[in-house]
């Protein structure tokens, strides 16, 4: 499975000294037995003295029973996802950036909604940011990514204009509206 482009881009960035700006991390939370009608609320923080974790993908183990759990994830006081973990939810990873720091941990609730014991296992992939300074560098790097895309589009437009001026053939244009 390929990584999302923005994740690859961030993993390739280096600090001024040459060391890598972020590192990739994986996390697993396994509950061998969740008793019937029982709920568990977990708090997730960065570990090892790191400043933050940028969670970009979460998924559940295929061994889990579809429809056995109700769950929500909460971050910055808002529920980012909520619902019963049906087959479709279990079969697909959830993608998106969730910023988790010591000051802003993520909260997750899982509730066994069946009369039987259930097995739970969730995974999360994240980018680990060691310090606040690195976090600012990550934001700056993301800003530059947008700038470079814009610069490439402008360069392409300049090339097309020059071709028009010199009577050359135009390269295919994106549709109006940019979609």
């Amino acid at each position: 499975m390929g990584l999302p482009y923005v994740v690859e881009y961030l993993l390739a960035q280096q600090r001024p000294g040459g060391s890598y700006l972020v590192r990739q991390g994986g996390n697993q939370v396994l509950i061998p037995i969740v008793p019937p009608y029982t709920e568990v609320i977990l708090q997730v923080f960065p570990g090892g003295g790191d400043y933050a974790e940028l969670v970009y993908e979460t998924y559940f183990s295929s061994e889990m029973v579809p429809g056995a759990f109700f769950a929500w994830a909460q971050h910055f006081g808002a529920k980012s996802s909520e619902g019963v973990l049906t087959g479709g939810v279990l079969a697909n990873p959830l993608n998106g950036f969730v910023f988790v720091s010591a000051a802003q941990p993520a909260l997750a609730l899982i509730r066994n909604i069946t009369p039987l014991n259930q097995f739970y296992c969730g995974h999360a992939f994240s980018l680990t940011i060691a310090s606040e300074e690195d976090y600012k560098r990550v934001l700056e790097t993301l800003d530059r990514l947008a700038t470079s895309v814009k610069a490439e589009r402008l360069a392409q437009e300049a090339v097309n204009l020059l071709r028009v001026l010199t009577g050359g053939a135009l390269a295919p244009q994106p549709p109006i509206g940019g979609s």
Partner: protein, 42 residues
């Protein structure tokens, strides 16, 4: 005649009423629930 209600199985008697959570990886996971015991496996 009334249909008898289905009997639910009794909750499993987990040792000390604890729910064991096994965590691996870089992130720290905690719970305020006294029944939840977080164990690291790395």
């Amino acid at each position: 005649m009334t249909t008898p209600k289905p009997k639910l199985p009794p909750p499993v008697n987990i040792k000390g009423g604890q729910i064991k959570v096994i965590v691996s990886g870089g992130m720290k996971v905690t719970s305020n629930d006294p029944r939840v015991v977080v164990e690291r496996k790395d």
